[in-house]
């Protein structure tokens, strides 16, 4: 007799996420930098902001910080503060 098992794993169907369209150029764009609030993130992002502005002609940098790195970012940070205002967002983790 064939053995029948109960599938013990999560079987929820999740809609695949579409990656955001790529930018052809950073020139004149607004770039959001999301610091997940780990120690050292600010040093890294300060440097990144400088590079983006000086080398790639980024027009504006929007800086946001997650309240804590231990939990998902609140929707408010993701939607209202970053997606609504930026052409591209870079999330940075540093330690």
């Amino acid at each position: 007799m064939a053995t029948i098992l109960i599938n013990p794993r999560d079987e929820a169907q999740r809609a695949p996420r579409q990656a955001a369209p790529r930018l052809h150029s950073l020139s004149g764009k607004t770039v959001g930098l999301l610091d997940i609030s780990k120690p050292g993130g600010n040093f890294f992002l300060d440097h990144l902001a400088r590079l983006l502005t000086e080398r790639y002609g980024v027009a504006a940098i929007v800086r946001e910080i997650k309240p804590t790195f231990t939990k998902p970012a609140p929707d408010a940070v993701i939607e209202r503060l970053l997606h609504a205002r930026c052409d591209a967002v870079i999330e940075a983790l540093a330690d």
Partner: protein, 535 residues
């Protein structure tokens, strides 16, 4: 904010998915419950499953229930679908009605009688208040009262809300709450039919159910496990982070089978899964961190004897089927349903042997003080499970000390190494005292509180340790640490409060070995110890 006894203003707002404005006014045929909410408010997300249940239990004749969104139509529509809202949703995008009712925070509930007089208001999430509203509505509708919000269902009793949009919302830093306890029952688990020549144990290994062989979760074995619980197989007990997979009773039973549990263990597993998904425990962070943390289960109360949990020698290892299989079944759920698989979302740098199974029982009979679950607010006769995001064991050997303070001083020196030596304040520790150490400590008349205070006051890192290297971990935070003097030496205090040191008695009666278990980052933004009662 509109108060009890005042008359509520009538209004009209556009209903979601329509072009019509819906008028809400008085007199009305029944009581009205208005719920102001924001789509990105974690507390609102926590509240709606209860309001859905309320809408289901009371028909439209009993209450006019309206959810009033302070957000735009598209995010409100997504929210209504995600939360499967069972009541009409009105759009207050320009916040005109919010200004009239003036809630301080969301969610805010206004219960109005048939003439529009405010009977009750509730701001933020509060189970007692929700139950009072349900009782009031049942009384008005002359139907049987019921408990809307059960005590230990995986959701805290109270949770602050977010500032109402019309008062400008600052960010509250809370997690996204994705616990939807009252979701519709899930589909049943799929069946996997194995070819005759397939070895079931090998199949489970190759399918990645675990890295060790498991008992194959055959239909017959899972059915046997399910017979031990009155809960329906398709009931969703909790959504397990970080993937928020649905832990149905059937999936829990399948993990229990794989781990080799006796069916009676379902009684522990269901509340345990709820406790793990209680947002205070922050399983999302615990499972996704690169740190050593693994959820440690501590069992208290009569269930220890009823199900054979060991609390004596080898308590942290392979001593009893109950400890080993409960810890393992729990871990199997965290990986197979929660998605915290090593090398994928679980990115722990070195891991923790506790991720095979990490379950102890307290040796309450050798504890002259209060066992852990009493400190956590339960009666001695109440069985309970506690979860703590624990590092691996740090061993403390002390065979020479004849005095309580000498034993405790030795423990302090190990406590000082939790997280890393020069890091202070951001974590907790469980100290597992062995019976011989407890005897020595108690002989000198120390209460449990005395022990905790002594450990708190005598655990510190000498200030000179911060003067050697300037940039090591913990040094940059030293300005925030509390300076104290221990035995004449200027030190920084290791722990922020005595309560950060938890005391448990366990282990064999021979051997003067205790243990210290550090935690992951703690407090409201980290992981907090949670204790849930068992039926």
């Amino acid at each position: 904010m509109l108060q009890s006894g005042e008359s509520a203003p009538s209004f009209s707002l556009r209903a979601l998915h329509t072009t019509e404005r819906r008028a809400v006014g008085w007199p009305a045929a029944s009581a009205t419950l208005l719920v102001f909410f924001e789509t990105d408010c974690p507390t609102c997300q926590l509240t709606f499953p209860y309001l859905n249940r309320l809408a289901e239990r009371l028909n439209a004749q009993a209450v006019n229930l309206f959810a009033i969104s302070q957000d735009n139509e598209s995010v409100t529509a997504a929210f209504a679908e995600q939360m499967q809202l069972r009541m009409p949703v009105l759009l207050d995008e320009d916040l005109s009605v919010s200004r009239q009712y003036d809630p301080l925070a969301v969610p805010s509930l206004f219960l109005l009688d048939r003439n529009g007089q405010v009977l009750r208001t509730q701001t933020a999430f509060d189970k007692t208040e929700l139950n009072a509203i349900a009782t009031e509505l049942c009384a008005q509708a002359e139907c049987e009262p019921f408990v809307l919000a059960e005590a230990f269902d995986g959701v805290p009793a109270v949770k602050p809300g977010c500032t109402s949009r019309h008062l400008e919302p600052p960010d509250d830093g809370s997690a996204n709450v994705t616990t939807n306890l009252h979701a519709q029952p899930s589909a049943r688990a799929s069946r996997i039919e194995l070819a005759d020549d397939t070895d079931a144990i090998e199949y489970c290994l190759s399918a990645g159910f675990d890295a060790l062989p498991v008992v194959p979760p055959t239909v017959e074995r899972v059915e046997r496990m399910l017979r031990a619980t009155s809960h329906s197989p398709d009931e969703v007990v909790a959504l397990i982070p970080p993937n928020y997979g649905q832990a149905t009773v059937e999936k829990i039973a399948a993990s229990a089978v794989m781990a080799g549990c006796e069916p009676a263990m379902m009684r522990v597993l269901l509340p345990l899964v709820r406790a793990a998904c209680d947002e205070r425990f922050n399983l999302h962070g615990v499972q996704a961190t690169t740190h050593f943390a693994a959820p440690l289960i501590i069992v208290n109360g009569p269930v220890r004897h009823e199900l054979g949990f060991a609390s004596h020698g080898n308590v942290f290892s392979n001593v009893a089927r109950a400890n080993s299989t409960l810890g393992r079944a729990f871990q199997l759920l965290l990986t197979n349903v929660g998605g915290a698989r090593p090398g994928e979302i679980d990115m722990s740098t070195l891991g923790n042997p506790g991720k095979f199974s990490y379950c102890i029982a307290e040796r309450e009979e050798a504890n002259p003080w209060e066992p852990l679950h009493i400190e956590q607010g339960f009666a001695r006769a109440q069985s309970a499970v506690t979860l703590f995001a624990a590092e691996p064991l740090r061993a403390v050997s002390e065979h020479k000390a004849r005095r309580a303070r000498t034993v405790l001083k030795t423990i302090c020196r190990t406590l000082a190494t939790v997280w890393s030596y020069r890091m202070c304040a951001g974590f907790e520790a469980v100290v597992v005292l062995c019976p011989e150490h407890v005897d020595t400590i108690q002989r000198d008349g120390f209460s449990k509180n005395d022990v905790r205070e002594f450990l708190f006051d005598n655990t510190g890192i000498p200030v000179r340790a911060y003067e050697i290297d300037e940039d090591g971990e913990g040094v940059q935070l030293a300005a925030h640490y509390e300076r104290i003097t221990i035995d004449g030496e200027p030190c920084y205090r290791k722990f922020r409060a005595p309560e950060q040191i938890k005391l448990v008695v366990a282990g064999g009666t021979a051997g003067k070995f205790s243990a210290v278990l550090g935690s992951w980052t703690t407090g409201p933004r980290g992981s907090q110890m949670v204790t849930y009662p068992l039926d």
